[in-house]
């Protein structure tokens, strides 16, 4: 990863694709307003407290809940697998593809499968892959990764999608959104009915009952998990909930935080493979529990709360930095505040040197997160940790600053010095601070310090 990855990519986007900023800002503001209204309709604060506590509890007992979930998943005939990393996951998938002679796969949106490179691996195996979420389908056609965890194609405006469909699917250049959706529906309907395997993620897995829970608005995930004869679920080990009853709050909170709905339009509660006497449904169900860095995050005492994330996207929508560029500038699977916090933990702490600065520390994300992840504090922590690798001048400057600020006499002396020299030099040493000073105007010291004014005019008055 280049040291200037995020900044360079953000600049490129803003200069060469200004329409992205417009599309992303519009979409995120829309999501954010809906979330705000939806929080206001219920006792959102109490729900968030409860949800945060439930997630923290689950994580603090994760080994136990994983075993309970495994037991209850296996009972009705689901096969459970464990993958330590992307390679492991790909190997398991390959075995299943070979076991069932799979030629065609339909996929429901899953960020984890992006992490694991599932599509690329399937294509290497000669398997045809169809992303079936409309947004995912659009970016699959465009050959791009998703830019938002809930709306993967929000960076694309109608015009761009029209042009893309025109080129790839031969629709009229001025087709209406309805026409475009209908064409995608036709292509994907055919795929649903002919695919041998459906691949999905999971929003939650209930340990008590061994239920895989999936939330969506289009119905493509229900189809993915219902029509092919094999269903494979990739699920991060952090997605567990203890009891079925816990879903009552989580399903409603997730929908309200993500899009402002009362509940996702379609919620699948999958308990096992097709049972005897049922007319349809997959004959084989496989659940793959994936670590891929999650245990390192769990072991990190300052970051482990980030595993509570339910991928609602609210922090992205609230983030003024994300809004400028969308997710691609981050160069990672997860973008926005949660991406900044999770990515270095999941992949490589050094990524924080770059990503940690895609943030203005405005703390808007903390105000909206349904599971109260302390995102700003964690971003700051990553910054502190990454100072070890900061340029020497910047480090020195800040160390000096700290020295000065914590010693009153020193402070008085240096502020006098600054005031005396400023007229001559224009605060000459500020450029030492590099990037930090770049966005700030030059400081103009006042002729007298507050302290002097206090002593001369107000004290004793």
């Amino acid at each position: 990863m280049a040291a200037k990855g995020y900044k360079a990519a953000a600049r490129r986007t803003l200069e060469h694709a200004p329409e992205v900023r417009e599309a992303v800002t519009r979409a995120t503001l829309h999501f954010d307003r809906n979330r705000e209204r939806a929080y206001g309709e219920v006792e959102a604060e109490a729900w968030r407290d409860w949800a945060a506590a439930t997630k923290r509890h689950t994580l603090s007992r994760l080994d136990r809940y994983l075993l309970e979930a495994e037991r209850n998943l296996t009972a009705p005939g689901t096969e459970v697998h464990w993958a330590e990393d992307a390679k492991d996951a790909q190997r398991i998938l390959q075995e299943l593809v070979e076991r069932y002679g799979v030629r065609r796969v339909v996929k429901g949106k899953s960020m984890l499968s992006e992490e694991l490179g599932v599509n690329e691996h399937l294509e290497r195996l000669g398997v045809e892959v169809f992303e079936t979420d409309l947004g995912e389908y659009i970016i699959q056609l465009a050959g791009e990764p998703p830019s938002h965890i809930v709306g993967p194609a929000i960076h694309k405006g109608l015009e761009e999608i029209r042009a893309l469909f025109h080129e790839r699917l031969g629709t009229p250049p001025d087709a209406s959104p309805e026409t475009l959706a209908a064409v995608a529906r036709r292509v994907l309907r055919e795929a649903f009915l002919t695919a041998d395997m459906g691949i999905s993620g999971a929003n939650f897995v209930v340990a008590e009952t061994g239920t895989v829970v999936l939330v969506e608005n289009e119905g493509n995930i229900r189809l993915t998990t219902s029509t092919p004869r094999v269903h494979v679920v990739f699920v991060g080990i952090e997605k567990l909930l203890p009891r079925a009853r816990d879903l009552e709050v989580f399903l409603q909170l997730l929908a309200r935080a993500a899009t402002g709905q009362k509940i996702g339009t379609f919620v699948s509660l999958i308990n096992g493979p097709r049972r005897e006497g049922e007319p349809d449904g997959p004959e084989h169900l496989h659940v793959i529990f994936v670590d891929n860095g999650r245990t390192s995050v769990l072991a990190d005492r300052e970051m482990h709360e980030a595993l509570s994330c339910i991928r609602c996207g609210a922090c992205l929508n609230a983030c003024p930095v994300y809004r400028q560029t969308g997710g691609h500038a981050y160069g990672q699977v997860y973008s926005g505040p949660i991406g900044i916090v999770l990515t270095p933990g999941l992949k490589d702490p050094r990524l924080a040197e770059d990503l940690g600065y895609a943030c203005s520390l405005c703390t808007a994300c903390a105000d909206v997160c349904p599971v109260r992840i302390p995102l700003p504090k964690q971003i700051l922590t990553w910054r502190v940790r990454s100072t070890k690798h900061a340029p020497a001048t910047e480090r020195l400057a800040f160390e000096g600053y700290a020295e000065v600020m914590t010693r009153p006499r020193f402070y008085r002396l240096s502020s006098k010095l600054l005031r005396l020299t400023a007229p001559l030099t224009g605060a000459p040493w500020l450029p030492v601070l590099g990037a930090w000073a770049a966005g700030h105007g030059a400081l103009e010291p006042s002729p007298k310090s507050f302290r002097e004014i206090w002593e001369e005019e107000l004290d004793g008055a």
Binding site: L59, I237, D246, F266, L269
Partner: protein
């Protein structure tokens, strides 16, 4: 060499080592008590999310509406769970060809305006046709989502699903489009007396009228709730001989604890009453399967055993 499973579990344990376990929030979430009735709230919320929601006073009224309404379709894929009287008179078609899918919901939830569907009737007919009609009995409309989630613990079908509106997407330039993959129309019809109709499929729908002139002489609730209260702390056994205890009886529920697994199940008063009513009207309820079919599908073995102990079925 340890496998991936044990390595992952070991890493989890090591990560949690020495960490104070966080207690689960002390009691499960309890939603507010609602003033509006469940059916009215359900209809309002469903309509707000784009559901075409209807309410009928009895199967006859529903049948009348169905005849007109279904005339707009060429064919239908119909759930086997639907009684004859409420099946549209349309040629049958497989779900991938049908213009209309017709389902029987297990329940409806007022909080979210959702219907709860089961894979027992087939999943394709709930998803593939462009329009989806869902029948639900008035007594099966509950206020809160939590009231139906208990079913996950009670021998559920391979898949349950909550549908809360037509399929939709705003992925194309933030413009809302309906019917992207699933049905673009969701029509929910809440019918009073639907379950009773199923209980006695030989009786034609037309003889079932509004409840105002119920010809039966049986009292409205054949179940004396006090008698259920009296069973508190008693040990009973199911038809198969599994022992359980009636742990707690509240105003609207009875909680039982199964001796072998130590799991608890909550039985709803409404379901027990319905079964008792049906039984006193002469409908045979020979065992848990029949109880499930007729009255409620929550923990039927224990519910049946309670009613049997009270000599009601």
């Amino acid at each position: 060499m340890p496998d991936a499973r044990s390595r992952i579990l070991q890493r989890v344990r090591r990560a949690l080592e020495g960490r104070w376990p966080v207690e689960a929030p002390t009691r499960p979430w309890r939603p507010a008590v609602e003033e509006t009735g469940a059916v009215a709230r359900f209809l309002a919320h469903a309509k707000a999310s784009g559901v075409e929601a209807h309410r009928f006073e009895g199967p006859a009224a529903a049948r009348n509406w169905l005849e007109d309404w279904a005339a707009g379709f060429k064919n239908a894929a119909v759930s086997p769970l639907i009684p004859e009287a409420l099946r549209p008179s349309l040629p049958a078609a497989p779900p991938e060809k049908a213009e209309l899918g017709v389902s029987r919901a297990l329940a409806a939830v007022a909080d979210t305006g959702s219907v709860l569907l089961s894979s027992t009737e087939g999943r394709r007919l709930q998803l593939l046709p462009p329009a989806h009609l869902v029948w639900v009995d008035e007594s099966e409309v509950v206020q809160h989502l939590g009231e139906v989630l208990g079913r996950l613990a009670d021998d559920p079908p391979s898949a349950l699903a909550l549908h809360s509106g037509p399929s939709k997407s705003a992925d194309i330039g933030q413009i809302m489009v309906q019917g992207v993959h699933g049905p673009g129309r969701l029509v929910v019809a809440v019918v009073r007396g639907l379950a009773e109709l199923e209980a006695d499929p030989t009786e034609p729908a037309s003889t079932r009228e509004a409840p105002s002139h119920t010809p039966k002489t049986t009292p409205p609730a054949a179940l004396d709730w006090e008698a259920v209260h009296a069973l508190e702390d008693h040990r009973l056994a199911t038809k198969r001989g599994d022992a359980f205890t009636v742990e707690k009886v509240t105003e609207n529920t009875a909680v039982v604890r199964v001796s072998s697994s130590n799991k608890t199940y909550t039985l709803r008063r409404r379901c027990l009453e319905k079964a008792a009513r049906l039984a006193s009207a002469g409908t045979p309820i020979p065992g848990p399967a029949a109880y499930r079919k007729l009255a409620c599908n929550e923990a039927p073995a224990y519910a049946w055993a309670i009613l049997h102990t009270l000599d009601l079925i």
